[in-house]
Symmetry: C2
Subunit: 375 residues, 2 copies
């Protein structure tokens, strides 16, 4: 049996004053309405830090209650910032097992109300204490990757900045995006340093928001394949990766997803990938096997809206925003809009097959999900 | 397609000096060995506070990596202290959907190394801020329930103490239990007050431990039915419950589980229920519809080992211990042992059908799981 997306919706991402429950209600009600589903059989909630940042443990119940869905079965699924994709994958299993016809999958995170240092400290717990002691937080690890990528490809610091420039340009057309103003290479280079060579504008922001899809026994978008792969918890334990530029787990996950979906790379029309940092704009596309020279393809417009393989046309994590538990769902919402021809000014003409790529940890838990428009 | 338990194992519960990863390894390796499974297709991790108490976000990867199972798909499932049962339910869906043949479901929590006040503060986040402001933490809410139960049934404070006395008596025979020494009614009444009328010995302890099962396409124990129901996040929003003594969600979940399993209450031979506080020893058994007068049935030995319907023969949450993310799995491990005739001195003669009851929040997310021995 196949599973489908039958509806999808997102809140505006950004700095929001509403409570976590209110954000969840907004996205959840809109997704259910879009799907034409009054009472889902199950609710899966994706939220990475409900207790640490949201002051709400037992968040699956909070969401089900807020949406008036009691006594619906509800649980939370977590896989670091890949939580949303993990929840979609488990919702698919609920539908394919025959246990549910419609599953509301809702991602939500509220972050901007907490001090940056607190958020950094919580996020840092995704790396083991042995690496934290060396200062190897996510930004620091990615800075090393960026240096290595520049060395390996001969790319300049300015080239790296083309990633956020493209992301912001795309986000201008997305009414739900956090940052709807263009930035220049000069803006990126002039932004405050985070971990050399990365600067603030190289990094996805701290964001509030919610996004939701309904995974159903029927719908206009089929979940054609899901690939998932894990990798070492400590980056310093990672072996067999000669370049240090990419994430082996992305390659394994992509292989699984394409195999299951019986699709080829060239079948993909539109991509959402996990561009939490500039260098990932290039590394992810290469790891996914989609393009050989991602920098050249960014420069020639291939990966921009209107190009042959547009990626992150809603602004990506960088400019749409990155409310960690909601990010995987935001990707699904964007691709649902694309495949149902409802993406407005961002519409990718003739999009029939879409790919979502979502990373948890430093390349340690990667999901690749292929979606296909149903006739 | 049906799903089964093919293996199960637990660590000793109690105050443990090992890391969260080491506890997970101990239970996970033993469960896989018991199941005869080298490489599960999927890992689901149940842990309620990996970040807050365990210093390890992204814990599903930590567990998969520690067990040498990379690049296995892995995610965490959370439903407050019912997380373990939620993970078993989703593992069943993975097997029934055909996506997995063998799923390692591993619960782990490390708590005793943190100050009590910190643990209390983290646990308190399961109730909404509006109730916390009134002092309505889990122990306080349960104290109100205990008062109401005593009023409604005419039971005395001494009667309430029979619950921990029974739990400790059972735990003496369980080599994995935290407390293997008997306590008396006088001991319970003399223990320090927590929230009147509850005293320390009325409450499940703070515990470290891990427990795991393998959910498979075949095995000696069939998962015959799963019922789940949610209820209001705020207790003060709860309606339609005239007595305030029980949890409506338990009744709904039990109805679903028995319906799906096509079993009757009288078919059940052995029970694990969520006795996090004394009064629940009585309230749960009534909510489950198993016995009419749980206090009388405790007094006459019905619910003790050797009685007609033994409950919590391994000591329950009260005396086996309550490492919150591992509790649902510990229940499954005990019932797997019972149904495969491997429970040693705790063996319930002729046990063929078993019931697990696991509560998240204050009766706000309840699972009832029915297991059946396969011929």
């Amino acid at each position: 049996m196949d599973a489908y997306l039958s509806g999808a919706a997102t809140t505006r991402f950004g700095r929001r004053s509403e409570s976590l429950a209110a954000l969840a209600r907004e996205a959840g009600e809109a997704a259910l309405a879009a799907a034409g589903v009054d009472r889902p059989d199950h609710v899966l909630v994706s939220c990475q830090f409900p207790g640490e940042l949201g002051d709400a443990e037992n968040v699956a119940v909070l969401v089900a209650d807020t949406l008036g869905l009691l006594p619906v079965p509800a649980a939370r699924v977590e896989a670091a910032p890949a939580s949303g994709s993990a929840a979609v994958a488990l919702a698919r299993a609920l539908v394919r097992s025959g246990e549910a016809r419609d599953v509301l999958v809702l991602g939500v995170e509220r972050m901007t109300h907490r001090p940056s240092a607190e958020i950094a400290s919580v996020l840092a717990r995704m790396t083991p204490p042995s690496e934290r002691a060396l200062g190897l937080t996510m930004p620091a690890l990615t800075a090393l990757m960026a240096r290595r990528w520049m060395h390996a490809t001969g790319a300049s610091r300015e080239d790296l900045a083309l990633a956020p420039v493209k992301a912001h340009r795309h986000a201008v057309g997305n009414p739900h995006a956090q940052f709807r103003k263009p930035v220049t290479v000069a803006d990126v280079l002039a932004s405050p340093p985070v971990a050399d060579p990365l600067r603030v504008l190289d990094c996805a922001p701290v964001t509030d928001g919610a996004a939701a899809v309904v995974v159903s026994h029927r719908g206009p978008v089929r979940i054609a394949g899901v690939g998932q792969a894990t990798d070492t918890y400590a980056y310093t334990d990672r072996r067999g990766e000669p370049s240090l530029v990419g994430f082996p787990a992305t390659r394994v996950a992509a292989h699984k997803a394409f195999s299951e979906a019986r699709k080829m790379r060239r079948d993909v029309d539109v991509v959402e990938h996990h561009d939490a940092f500039s260098v990932l704009e290039f590394a992810n596309v290469a790891d996914l096997g989609l393009l050989d020279d991602p920098l050249a393809r960014l420069e020639d417009g291939t990966t921009s809206l209107g190009g042959a393989l547009p990626t992150n046309v809603g602004g990506g994590l960088k400019a749409r925003g990155h409310p960690v538990g909601a990010t995987g769902l935001a990707q699904a919402v964007e691709l649902f809009a694309q495949l149902t021809r409802n993406a407005g000014a961002r519409q990718v003409d003739g999009a029939k097959v879409a790919l979502a790529h979502n990373i948890g940890g430093f390349g340690s838990n990667v999901f690749v999900t292929l979606y296909e428009a149903v006739a």
